[in-house]
């Protein structure tokens, strides 16, 4: 019997980036295949090819042995491939039933159709109130509605993109059980995830992706979890090898005076999801603490909690002996916290203002930018001139609007502004995003310089190599928790990989 889905030598590249490199695998009826990989490993690209969103450059997708051209998502759906995205595509103020039937011809929206929907539910053991509006449902229920919507369209291959990331902890187990039920009924499920625990519980096979390639196609029951994580992270290098280009001077001394201390910091959403879960961290003056982890594990929340943008539910944040937990954002800026947010366009810059004005947006109250209570534009311009020269921001004209700069140069504006103004603490998130190798080095040097001035640095990045290169210690964040703190000179990628995917209670 031919496999339900066979993917043969599929490659896809975007410019110089090889997103998928000769990906080959088969999936059978009644099988759950997990797809595991770091950010940018190619998981989402693979799903997009199967959904008809991307056309592969090379290779072929066959369904039930017949080659198929999946030219767009509706073709994919007609061929029985459905996908549940992390962000649901439900109409909030319509009922579950209306959502399930949305977009179908009126003929299908009959009493019989209602019976069909009920049939699906009893087959799969779903318990859904179809007359309830989606907006009133908990997240797990919404997800169930999405799945029923796909099943109602006779999907035989269901792709789930990080399905548990939106669920409350108590909703995860029932959801994994539902996957097993679907699989038992003959459905093929592709589960994109980076949680090893879920793979063990729900999947039959696991495809491990790295740099667009399938690095391993393993039977879950015969595989140890550390095997999976080391395949995901690549060769079993030690940290010393990874960070051989370490930029820190040997034997650099770090004060033993604590600058930033987080104790039992948690952020809990209304639905009970713990975005940050009991975080305890300390950074000394002049120390660089790296935070490694897979994207979306609480990095953004951690940075925003420290800088005052996100209110914390529990815990205390202390900077240089002062409790800053209830300080406003601007009070924290005045205290000397610099912050390079993840999204420079939306959060770091005002694109319609000039580069010069952008260098002053966080510190317009600073006496150096004022002249008897008024904004001193000349002072701002001359400050910006210095910053532009120092950070080699191009084109070197601070009167240009920030929108006229390339992404990398915009990033340098934000970095320069924050590195130069941070006097006690610098929080940087993905600082090297969009920078070339030379600029990355330069930024890392600047961050090191700041640490030499005694500034404590929290260096959050998903680029593990960069984290290891600059950090004195590396904390690994997984599912909103700090799963471990390691020494970058002695750790191995295997160790970090385990910590990144570590489940709770370890």
């Amino acid at each position: 019997m031919a496999a339900v889905l066979s993917v043969a030598e599929v490659s896809k590249s975007f410019g110089a980036v090889q997103a998928l490199n000769k990906v080959t695998f088969e999936a059978n009826r009644g099988e759950c295949i997990a797809i595991l990989g770091e950010n940018g490993a190619g998981k989402t690209s693979l799903a997009s090819v199967l959904m008809g969103l991307y056309q592969p450059d090379q290779g072929q997708v066959a369904l039930d042995g017949t080659p198929c051209e999946l030219t767009n998502p509706s073709v994919a759906l007609d061929n029985g491939i459905g996908m549940i995205h992390q962000h649901f595509s439900l109409v909030e103020n319509m009922t579950a039933l209306e959502n399930i039937q949305i977009g179908l011809p009126a003929a299908k929206r009959t009493q019989r159709a209602l019976r069909d929907v009920h049939g699906i539910c009893s087959d799969f053991g779903f318990d859904v109130d179809f007359s309830a509006k989606v907006e009133d449902m908990p997240v797990g229920m919404k997800q169930r509605v999405e799945i029923i919507k796909a099943l109602y369209r006779n999907v035989s291959i269901l792709i789930l993109d990080e399905p548990t990331s939106v669920l409350a902890p108590t909703e995860v187990q029932p959801f994994l059980d539902e996957i097993r039920v679907m699989v038992a009924k003959g459905l093929t499920v592709l589960l994109i995830t980076h949680k090893l625990e879920e793979i063990v519980q729900a999947a039959d096979r696991v495809l491990i992706m790295r740099h667009g390639r399938i690095e391993g196609d393993l039977v879950v029951s015969e595989t140890e979890t550390h095997q999976m994580s080391s395949l995901m992270m690549g060769s079993g290098d030690t940290g010393a090898d990874l960070s051989q280009k370490v930029l820190k001077e040997p034997g650099r001394s770090i004060s033993n005076e604590t600058a930033l201390a987080l104790s039992s910091v948690s952020v809990v959403t209304e639905n009970g999801v713990r975005l940050l879960d009991d975080i305890n961290l300390e950074i000394s003056k002049g120390e660089i603490l790296g935070v490694a982890g897979i994207d979306g594990n609480g990095q953004r929340e951690l940075s925003e909690a420290i800088c005052g943008i996100l209110e914390i539910t529990e815990g205390v944040i202390v900077l240089d002996g002062t409790d800053i937990t209830s300080q406003t954002i601007s009070e924290r800026i005045e205290t000397g916290i610099g912050f390079v947010p993840e999204d420079r366009h939306a959060e770091g810059l005002v694109l319609s203002l000039s580069v010069a004005e952008n260098t002053a947006i966080r510190t317009i109250q600073d006496p150096k930018f004022k002249n008897g209570g008024f904004v001193n534009r000349r002072a701002i311009t001359s400050y910006a001139d210095d910053l532009v020269a120092e950070y080699d921001i191009r084109p070197g004209d601070p009167s240009l609007p920030a929108s006229a700069l390339s992404g990398g140069n915009q990033q340098k504006v934000v970095l320069g502004r924050e590195i130069e103004t941070a006097s006690r603490l610098l929080v940087v998130v993905q600082p090297t995003k969009g920078l070339d190798v030379g600029a990355t080095r330069f930024v890392q040097q600047k961050i090191l310089e700041a640490s030499r001035r005694g500034v404590a640095v929290l260096y959050i990045s998903t680029e593990l190599e960069h984290v290891l290169e600059v950090s004195d210690r590396v904390a690994v964040i997984a599912f909103g928790r700090i799963s471990g703190v390691v020494d970058p000179t002695t750790t191995s990628s295997q160790e970090i990989g385990m910590l990144m995917t570590a489940s709770k209670g370890e």
Partner: protein
């Protein structure tokens, strides 16, 4: 786009709109050049016409500023009309009830009260917008009608002048009447109040830290928040100050022109303010010019009708065309080789020809 580029564009768009309006005048069976000449002559060059233009320009200018300031903080105040009415009401109540004081003190009290009235009327939708996320356009718009009816009630009830044939209040004392700027005409000091307000707003936004922060909120509220700016408070402040400015316009109508509170005393000046704001491309220092121009056009409607015979509705249509052209000028981007239709027309460079 730099500020000067914007102004050039707005000027060009007005020229285009007047050309299109000329077509309408031709269709109406008249000579557009003669019509525009009459307009120019009678609205701007003639002594009486100019005074009439200035009388209209004062409330339009303040109402325009009442739109500009909140919009610089990212919120759209459509409630200028209601704020004018509340300003007029508060101002009139004070003018009719304060004891015999010197004119200057009295005027300060009247205008202060008017600012409070307009500001209060704006504070409610501002609070809903900033703290509850309610759409300010709808709330401010609907509150206009409430304010208009409150004034109608006041002047046909508690404030109604004895023996008045229709709803208006008693006349205010002579010393509280705004001084006349152009002798023997109606043109009063109101225009100077408006120009002063425009200049102050300009310097506030441009040269003070608080104005800089308010402007940040309008340009990118998220980045402003990350920069430590309290976006909600700035939204509140911009709306309240905007409402206060519109309130001043109400007091100008009462103390400068009509000397009484009439029902329906403002003929849509609050809405004219929206047009002024866009004509000025949200720059307060340009608002006086924009208000002067719009007031001239509006005053000239009658002129064109009387001297040339152009329909009044044609003049209104021309005003509408101006608004559309100016709005288009502010959003349409100059086509470059990387965008829009030009890209499709130009031969594509081979992407693989090297470089990134």
């Amino acid at each position: 786009m730099s500020a000067s580029q914007i102004q050039v564009r707005v000027l060009l768009s007005i020229v285009i709109a007047l050309c299109l309006g000329g077509v309408l005048i031709v269709i109406d069976g008249h000579n557009p050049l003669a019509a525009y000449a009459a307009l120019l002559n009678e609205s701007f060059l003639d002594y009486w016409g100019l005074s009439n233009t200035l009388v209209k320009a004062s409330p339009m200018l303040l109402a325009g500023l009442a739109v500009i300031l909140p919009l610089r903080a990212g919120v759209f105040n459509i409630g200028g009309e209601g704020q004018i009415y509340m300003g007029g009401l508060f101002g009139a109540v004070v003018a009719l009830n304060i004891p015999d004081t010197p004119g200057v003190l009295g005027l300060i009290a009247i205008f202060g009260a008017a600012a409070v009235g307009g500001g209060l009327w704006a504070a409610f939708p501002a609070y809903l917008r900033a703290y509850k996320g309610t759409n300010e356009v709808i709330v401010t718009l609907l509150m206009n009608f409430v304010a208009i009816h409150i004034v109608s009630y006041a002047v046909s009830g508690p404030l109604m002048a004895e023996g008045a044939p229709y709803p208006y209040s008693e006349e205010i004392a002579d010393q509280f009447k705004l001084p006349i700027l152009m002798p023997r005409s109606d043109a009063h000091l109101g225009i100077l109040i408006g120009v002063l307000a425009a200049v102050l707003l300009y310097f506030w936004i441009r040269s003070t830290p608080s104005g800089f922060r308010l402007d940040l909120v309008g340009r990118n509220a998220r980045a402003a928040t990350y920069a430590g700016v309290n976006a909600k408070r700035n939204i509140m402040m911009s709306m309240i100050v905007g409402g206060a400015l519109a309130g001043l316009a109400g007091a100008i109508e009462v103390a400068g022109l009509k000397y009484r509170l009439f029902h329906l005393f403002s003929d849509g000046y609050g809405y004219d303010g929206i047009v002024v704001a866009f004509l000025a491309a949200l720059n307060p220092i340009v608002a006086p010019v924009a208000a002067f121009f719009l007031a001239g056009l509006s005053a000239g409607a009658g002129t064109m009708q009387r001297s040339i015979g152009v329909e009044g509705s044609v003049v209104e249509a021309i005003e509408g065309i101006i608004v559309i052209c100016v709005a288009a000028a502010l959003v349409v981007r100059k086509p470059t080789a990387d965008s829009g239709w030009l890209k499709r027309l130009l031969p594509q460079r081979n992407k693989n020809a090297g470089g990134v």
